[in-house]
Amino acid sequence: MKTKTILMAAGLVLASSAAYAASWTGGDDLPTNPLACDATPGEVVAKPYDGGVPTNAPDRNGKKITVVDVPKLIGVGYFSATTKGQAEAAKELGNVDVKTDGPTKANIDEQITFIDNYVTSGVDGILFAANDPVAIAPVLKKALAAGINVVGYDANSTPDARQWFVNQAEFNGVAKSLVDNLAKEIGEDSAFAIVTSTFTTPNQARWIAEMAAYAAKCHPKLEFLETVEAQEDNVLSFNQATTLINKHGDKLKGIVGMTSVATPAAAEAVTQSGLCGKVAVVGLATPNAMKPYVEKDCVKSVVLWNPVDLGYAAIYVLRAAADGTLKPGDTSVKAGKLGELKVVNGSEILLGSPFVFDKSNIGQFDF
């Protein structure tokens, strides 16, 4: 009898799964804001400062400050790159002491515990990349209440839980860049699939949702096939991408990698299947991992901001916030070698447009 129940449950699961085939899987349900199809920049809506303010922060102007950086997780290439940028900026400034510490898996609970401990230990500044924008908010508010300067980068929290957020590239900008490159490489009426980390990763979910909106607006004939999950595991990403190739055969013209792990693994899958030039790979990735494929012409272009610059900018922003030189209402901030960075969207600092690496320039980057 129980076996029957289990079989029924299985049937139910399979049946209900069919209902979700319509939209792009993996996107979130937040409102989207696709950019114009041509190069017109998105309209900038002036928005008042919506970040938080630390309570009774001591005067840190020019004084040496201790900063802790709590990324989503440690031990991955992307966040080692941001750490590198932070160290660079701290060295330039000379009055910032920064260390990176965090959970070994992208886990909301552990990240909160880490930040909580650092609030107790009494640091001057906290940098974070949130595993979940809402879950992290209470502990960040606690940090602000303790007079600590709080700045986010890479993945945002709710605005009032931190002072500033260094935005590597706006979601709709990344989405446009990815979809435009994809359409250029595979043609307007071709089919493609997506390899992502997990559906619960906020940034990836946001990008997929924005990509769907932008594609519907500007490349309506592009055919979305499916999204597969591959954690942050390169062997699994490789297997999933290979299975996609096997499944769709000639129909599949492109694979989009949503993480810096998935994109090189997808490129490897295309290479090992002997389909270089037949199946295009576009995606977010770091140049070092992509060099072999770009140099062999298996991958034409890779989209990414420079994570080293992202970490670098985060330190400059935090320093400016601690010094009081970056105040609510300001429209720009100086960030060392990066020059003036614009304040957008109330309390976000924009690093720039997403950067496209190709064969001509990929050799110049090392991260």
Binding site: K2, V13, S16, S17, Y20, G26, D28, D29, I74, G75, K99, D101, G102, P103, T104, K105, N107, I108, D109, I112, T113, F114, D116, N117, Y118, T120, S121, G122, D132, V134, A135, A137, P138, T198, F199, T200, A205
Partner: protein, 316 residues
């Protein structure tokens, strides 16, 4: 029985000394460690693991294991949000229902283990994947947010200056210790773990005992889920991933024998506090997270090693 009782009391003594030592050393390292605010805050952070560790102690004493607790936590968290937002139930009802689903999930574990005679490790390995999968499927990886303010009292509020959930943990720990130490059910739990066949022959309803314990494990995971959601103010389908290893570490460190038949709630509580004190104290003294997990690994092996050396006449 008296011999094994003495040997596990010895383990707790060893562990207690170790804990005092650790607390002392850590307090020397950072003046922020031994403050009321920090200690109470740590209590808040360890509640979910602590709650689940209580029934896990029973589970392991019976010679079983429950690897699905983290997934049950995730499933209940998701369902709490779904019941409240998507089905429009009042929040208290949604909380109660989510906890019931936890109990149901535990009951299913228990049924697979007792009726089909599937070893607990395999049964709960399978349901670990199943429950996590259900959480992901039901939620479609969407979060539910925007809970009313009163709900956060549970996870972020205080009662008489002590975090609300710490009261819950204390009440549950005392209850669990009483059940395990003073009732016939507690004695049955030990008997099942020490020798299942003998327990069966001496008239103990082994299957019912196990069924109740696994159901309790699911139920408490459900309660932990509600507290967790209240603490972090959102639901996600990946909540509680890997919790099972933290819970088992606390229980095993507390002297509960993985072979069954031995263990106490007080040991589990000490084990739990020791792990949390290490995590917190080492962070405050400037040790990074990767170093901390190495230390916890060493302490786990060392604690069991030390207690083995002191009780060589025990059954090992």
């Amino acid at each position: 029985m008296t011999l094994s009782l003495r040997s596990f009391m010895r383990h707790e003594a060893v562990l207690g000394i170790l804990l005092v030592l650790v607390l002392f050393v850590l307090a020397q390292q950072s003046d922020k460690f031994f403050t009321t605010a920090n200690i109470l805050n740590q209590g808040r952070l360890m509640t979910e693991i602590g709650l689940i560790a209580l029934p896990m102690t029973f589970v392991i004493i019976t010679g079983g294991i429950d690897l699905s607790v983290g997934s049950i936590l995730g499933l209940c968290a998701i369902l709490l949000g779904v019941f409240w937002q998507n089905l429009g139930l009042p929040l208290p009802a949604a909380m109660a229902l989510a906890v019931c689903v936890g109990a149901l999930a535990g009951l299913v574990n228990g049924l697979i283990i007792t009726r089909f005679k599937v070893p607990p490790l395999i049964a709960t390995l399978a349901t670990l994947a199943l429950y996590r999968g259900l959480a992901e499927g039901i939620s479609q990886a969407r979060s539910v947010r925007g809970y009313p303010e009163w709900f956060f009292v549970l996870g972020q509020g205080e009662v008489l200056g002590v975090p609300t959930q710490l009261w819950i943990l204390i009440v549950f720990a005392i209850g669990a210790a009483a059940i395990l130490g003073l009732t016939t059910f507690g004695r049955a739990t030990y008997a099942v773990g020490a020798n299942e066949t003998a327990a069966r022959f001496s008239g103990i309803n082994v299957d019912r005992t196990k069924l109740l314990i696994y159901t309790a494990s699911g139920l408490v995971s459900g309660i932990a889920a509600v507290i967790f959601v209240s603490r972090v103010s959102t639901t996600r389908s990946d909540m509680g991933t890997g919790v099972e290893l933290d819970v088992i570490t606390a229980v095993v460190l507390g002297g509960t024998s993985i072979f069954g038949g031995r263990g106490t709630i007080i040991g589990t509580v000490i084990g739990l506090i020791l792990v949390q004190a290490l995590k917190n104290g080492l962070a405050l003294s400037g040790v990074k997270g990767d170093g901390t997990i190495v230390v916890i690994g060493v302490v786990l092996i060392f604690a069991i090693l030390a207690s083995n050396l002191f009780s060589r006449n025990g059954d090992g």
